[in-house]
Symmetry: C2
Subunit: 470 residues, 2 copies
C-alpha cells in the first residue's frame, strides 16, 4: 500500500491483516476483536455514525502502549486511544480502521505530591475516581466537564466545564504528560516545576491534540485545596439577556465565582422533567462559590446585588451539600434531559465560545434562531467563560431535519466567529467540526498540518481527527 494512500485515509487492509495476529500473540485475552466490543469502542455520546476499530487492546502499562504503537507503526495501522467514550465529536471513531487502545485498566495514581499540590496519574482514571482517591489529602482536581470522563481524554480534548471560570481548563491544569509518539518512543514533555521556559511548550501541544500526535501514558495535574466552604444557589431572570448581563458583570467585577451556569427556560423545563426538580421555568443561573465562611458570604452578597440590578429574582442559596448536589447532578445530566424531550432521537451538542461582552447577544440571537427555525434545542452554558451549548434533538433519519440542523450549526458557528469567538470551547474538533476549523483559523491550519506530518508522517495516530487528511 502506497504511503499516499495511507495518508489519504484509505484502510490499509494488508497492514491490518498483518498486525492482528501479532497483537493476539502479544496480548492474548487482552486483545479483543468481537463486534460487540469493537462497537462499544466506536460508540460515543454523539450524532456521528460509529466507525469500528478492527480490534481493541486493553493496555495495562506504558510498555503495553509502546508495544501496540510499535507493532501498528510497523504495519502503518492506525491507533485510536479510548478513555470512557464520552467525547462529543467522534474522537474515538476509526474511519480508517485500526486498533483502539482501551485505558480502562490503566488508571493508577502514580504519585500525589500533596505539598506541591500536584499528582501524576495514568490516563484511564476518571475525574470522579481521582477525586475519590484524593479526598483524604484535602485536595481535589477541579476540572469538571460534566461527564465522568477519563483524565487522558480530558487532556486530549482540552476539556473544561463548570469550574473552568475559576480554575481554568485542562491547558492550565496539566503540568506535564508522558506520551508514546508515532515511533513507539515514550517522551516526557516537562517536569513538576510550576513554570518553565525550556523550549517549545510540548505539554500544551499534546493537550488538545486529540491523540493525533501521540498516545498519552501519564498526566501530571495541578490540584487545589478543597475549599473550607462551598455554597451555591440559583437565581431566575425575566429574560436570557438579563441573566447573561448578570454573568458579564460578575466576571467584569472579578468576583471569583467557582461556577456560573446558564440554563434557558426550555433547559430548566427539561431538567425539571428529567431530574425531578421544581424550578420556575425561566432563564436561570446556577452559581457556586468556594472559599471560607467570610469570603463566600461576601461573594454571594456581591452576586446577589448584581443579580438584583439585572432584574433577577431572589437569589436562593445554600451551603447544604445534599441540596447543592441535587442541583449539580441535574446540571450534569442536561444532555440526557434533552434527549428525554424526544426519546429515541439523536442529540447534537454545539459548543461556541465568545468574548464575555458578546455573550448576551450571541445567546439571545441563537435562541431566536432556534425559535424561528422550529428546532428543539435547549441552551445551557458555562456562561462565565462565554461558552454555551445548545443540545439539538432531532431525527437523524430524516434528511430534511438533518439539513435544517446542519444549517443551524453553520449559522451558530459563523455567529460566534463574527464575534471573535470559537466554534469549540471545550469539545474539540474531532470529526464533527472540521469544516469550521479553516474558517476559524485560516492559515494556522497549514502549521497544524505541518506539525502533524512532522510528528506522525504515516498518519497512524488517531487519523481523521482535527483534519480528515493531514
Amino acid at each position: 500500500m502506497a504511503l499516499a494512500d495511507i495518508r489519504s485515509g484509505v484502510r490499509n487492509e494488508k497492514g491490518i491483516a498483518g498486525v492482528l495476529p501479532l497483537l493476539a500473540a502479544r496480548f492474548g485475552e487482552r486483545f479483543q476483536t468481537g463486534e460487540a466490543i469493537r462497537s462499544q469502542h466506536a460508540h460515543t455520546t454523539t450524532y456521528i455514525p460509529a466507525q469500528l476499530p478492527d480490534g481493541v487492546v486493553f493496555v495495562g502499562s506504558a510498555e503495553d502502549v509502546q508495544a501496540v504503537v510499535a507493532l501498528c507503526a510497523d504495519h502503518a495501522v492506525p491507533v485510536i486511544p479510548f478513555g470512557t467514550g464520552s467525547s462529543l465529536e467522534g474522537q474515538v471513531n476509526a474511519p480508517n480502521g485500526g486498533i483502539s487502545i482501551d485505558f480502562s485498566n490503566m488508571k493508577r495514581v502514580l504519585e500525589v505530591n500533596a505539598e506541591d499540590l500536584d499528582c501524576t496519574v495514568e490516563p484511564g482514571i476518571t475525574r470522579e475516581e481521582l477525586n475519590t482517591y484524593l479526598r483524604d489529602t484535602g485536595l481535589f482536581f477541579p476540572i469538571d466537564p460534566g461527564a465522568n470522563a477519563s483524565i487522558g481524554g480530558m487532556a486530549s480534548t482540552r476539556a473544561s466545564g463548570t469550574n473552568a471560570v475559576r480554575y481554568g481548563t485542562m491547558k492550565d491544569n496539566v503540568l506535564a504528560v508522558t506520551a508514546v509518539t508515532a515511533t513507539g518512543e515514550e517522551i516526557r514533555t516537562a517536569h513538576r516545576a510550576r513554570k518553565s521556559s525550556a523550549g517549545y511548550d510540548l505539554t500544551r501541544l499534546f493537550v488538545g491534540a486529540e491523540g493525533t500526535l501521540g498516545v498519552l501514558t501519564s498526566v501530571t495535574l495541578r490540584l487545589q485545596g478543597i475549599p473550607a466552604v462551598i455554597a451555591g444557589g440559583i437565581c431566575g431572570f425575566p429574560t436570557l439577556k438579563d441573566a447573561c448581563n448578570a454573568v458579564i458583570m460578575t466576571i467584569q467585577l472579578g468576583i471569583p465565582v467557582a461556577r456560573i451556569e446558564l440554563l434557558n427556560a426550555l433547559q430548566v423545563q427539561a431538567c425539571n422533567a428529567y431530574s425531578g426538580l421544581t424550578l420556575p421555568e425561566q432563564p436561570t443561573l446556577f452559581v457556586e462559590f468556594h472559599g471560607n465562611e467570610e469570603s463566600v458570604r461576601l461573594q454571594s452578597e456581591e452576586f446577589g446585588t448584581i443579580a438584583a440590578e439585572c432584574g433577577g429574582g431572589a437569589f436562593v442559596w445554600s451551603a447544604d451539600a445534599a441540596e447543592r448536589g441535587k442541583l449539580w447532578k441535574a446540571r450534569h445530566n442536561v444532555y440526557w434531559s434533552c434527549k428525554a424531550l424526544r426519546p429515541g432521537y439523536a442529540a447534537l451538542s454545539t459548543d461556541v465560545c465568545v468574548p464575555i461582552s458578546r455573550l448576551a447577544d450571541c445567546v439571545a440571537e441563537t435562541e431566536r434562531d432556534i425559535e424561528e427555525h422550529g428546532l428543539l434545542a435547549p441552551i445551557v452554558g458555562h456562561a462565565g467563560d462565554g461558552n454555551f451549548h445548545t443540545c439539538v434533538v432531532f431525527d437523524d433519519k430524516d434528511p430534511a431535519e438533518v439539513a435544517k440542523v446542519e444549517a443551524f450549526v453553520g449559522r451558530l458557528n459563523a455567529r460566534a466567529l463574527a464575534m471573535d469567538g470559537t466554534c469549540t470551547g471545550e469539545h474539540g474538533i474531532g470529526q464533527g467540526k472540521q469544516a469550521f476549523l479553516p474558517k476559524e483559523l485560516g492559515g494556522s491550519l497549514t502549521l497544524m498540518r505541518q506539525i502533524k506530518q512532522a510528528l506522525d508522517p504515516h498518519n497512524i495516530m488517531n487519523p481523521g481527527k482535527i483534519f480528515s487528511t493531514p
Copy 2:
C-alpha cells in the same frame, strides 16, 4: 550555498550580500548597517559575547515584517526579532549573521476591550508603556519580569517575574498572537474567546519559541482589574531555610499573595548599597497583597502568622505607594546591584525552578555551594513559584574563574533537575542553556527539532536559539 550548510549554521555570505541592497531599497533610512547600531542590537544584559547582525530594519507594521521575512526567505538569510534587548541568554544574537528586526517603532495598542479584560498590542510596546496606556481603564497587565521588556520579547521567552505567583506567566496571559512564518505569511493562532479547543494550541507553541518559529506581529493579552488596595511589606528571617518555609506554607495554604520575593543576606546587602535602603542584612521576603481593604488585611494577617511560626521577625507592612515603590524598585534593580558589587565584571543570572516543596533544600544547598567555591553570587527569587536566580559576578577574562562559574551552573542545574525542576523558569534557553535542554527533556527534544524543521526548513527564524542546529 547548500541547504545542509545553511542548516548547520554557517553564514550564508552570498544570500546576505544579495539581500542587503534589496532591504536598503525597500526601507531606506529605516534600514541601518552601521556598526554602532548593529552592536546595540546584539548587546544584551548577558555574559554571552555579542554576535552582530548584518543590518537592522526598523519595522513599522506587520506588512514591513512580512516584507523583511519574504526577502530574507528568498535569500536564506536569518531574521532575528529585537524588542528591548533585555533577554538573558543571547536570544538577540546573530550567530549566522542576518537581519535584526527592531520593533521599537511598532508599539501601538491596537485595541482594548475593557469589558472583556483583554487588549491587542504590537510586539514592541513595553510592559510599562502598556500599563501607562491602560491606567485610565482601571485595568493593568500584571506580568512583570523586572526589566521593562517588550511584550513580544516577553511572549517569546515565556517570561513571568514577580507577579506570576498570582497571575501566571505569559503562557497564561497571552490569548492569541499573529505571527509571520518562515514563508512570509501572517497567521493568527486564535481569537478572543477565553478558551478554545480548536486544534493544536499554536498560541502556546509561539509563546516561548524565542522567535524560532515565526516573528510575532501582534499579541492579544488578558488584563486584570487594578486592585482597590495594594499593600506590601517585608519580613526578615534568621536563615534562608526559614524564609523558604514561610513561602512554602503561604503557597500551600492557598493565600493569594500577589508577590513573594526572597532575597538572601548578600542580596539585601547589595540592594542596600545600590538602592540606598537600610534593611537588616538577613534573608528577607518582600511580599505584596492585592484585593480590597478587607481581603488585604486578612491576607497580611495570615501571612504574618505564618512568618512568625517560621521564626520571622516583625512583618513590616505598608499600603503607602511611595514606600512600596522604593522597595520594588530596589527589587527590580537587583541585577545592577549585583554588578555594582564588582564593577566592570560580567554577571550571569541563573534561573532554576523547582517544585515548591524542594525550594528550601535547593536554595540552601545552592548557597552552601556558592560559599564553598568562593563565588560572588547573591540569591533572589520568585519564591512562590519555586523559581530563584543567583547572579554570579565574575571576571569573564579569567579562564579559571569562567571554568569555576560554568561548573557551578552545571551543578545548580543538575540539582534542580534532580528535584524534578527545570534549568529555566523564565529566561528561556537561547544560546546559553542549550547544553541543559537534552538533560532536562531527553527525547522531547527530537519532537522540538521536528517541529522546527517542519515550520522553518531553511532555519532562518532566529537560528541558533534553543538548539544550535535544528
